[in-house]
Symmetry: C2
Subunit: 114 residues, 2 copies
DNA sequence: TATTTGTGAAACCAAAAGGTTGCATTATGA
DNA sequence: TCATAATGCAACCTTTTGGTTTCACAAATA
């Protein structure tokens, strides 16, 4: 079974769970009560999140508190950021190209600079 | 069928495909030849990627060129970034706490500032 | 024209995902 | 001690995922 952060955040319910506990840990029932699926379904999502390190579950009496480990999201961030230069430079090129087109249409070859 | 960017990048093969065509568009066969699964399997991944907007496929003769639309990753980036403040401030708190502990252990209460 | 190349898509399959109900276990509180 | 609350987990189900083999078809080429 693949268990990485990318798969962890792939499901919208799991992203909602993360958002819910981002600022304050909640016990399993509290998390589940915010959804209209069963507690067991939410428990499974929590288990997946904990398996990929995005959540840590700690027992306290008869309750288990779920704490978000948001810093694990840096893996996702790093992966995306490696491509940012590529896509922004492409958008710049497109922008340049459009500006050049515009200049040519106006037939006075002035080149705008940003 | 859910088709969003998060699900698009959930599969490691699809992330590899994106990486492969990030700088240069490739036709379907060229993409597939880099993997040891069948062309059809890769074709399905490409279809999923195009359904969630991460890839655009354009016909050129009998070939279809696959072009990465990396700017779609900004959706992922935005989602992650909303949590960065939360996790970095927590790490700062932890750091402060550890430094305070250290000071107390050295029994001379000096408080380092960054 | 006949053949090869590049591709799309159908039919099928096993495993994983996401859900349910039901039951066992442990901690709390009356 | 007994009832209840919070939870983990097994058993089961349906749909999706990720893969396969096979076939059809259009474009390029010998």
């Amino acid at each position: 079974m693949r268990r990485d952060v990318f798969q962890g955040i792939a499901d919208p319910t799991r992203r909602e769970i993360l958002n819910m506990i981002a600022h304050k840990s909640l016990n399993v029932n509290s998390v589940a009560s915010n959804f209209d699926v069963s507690r067991t379904a939410i428990y499974k999502h929590l288990k997946i999140l904990s398996e990929c390190g995005l959540v840590v579950i700690q027992q306290q009496g008869r309750e288990r508190f779920c704490e978000a480990r948001l810093e694990r999201l840096s893996e996702v961030s790093d992966w995306v950021e490696q491509y940012r230069k590529v896509w922004t430079s492409r958008l710049d090129n497109l922008e340049d190209y459009l500006k050049e087109l515009q200049s040519k249409n106006k037939k006075h070859g002035r080149k705008k600079t940003r």
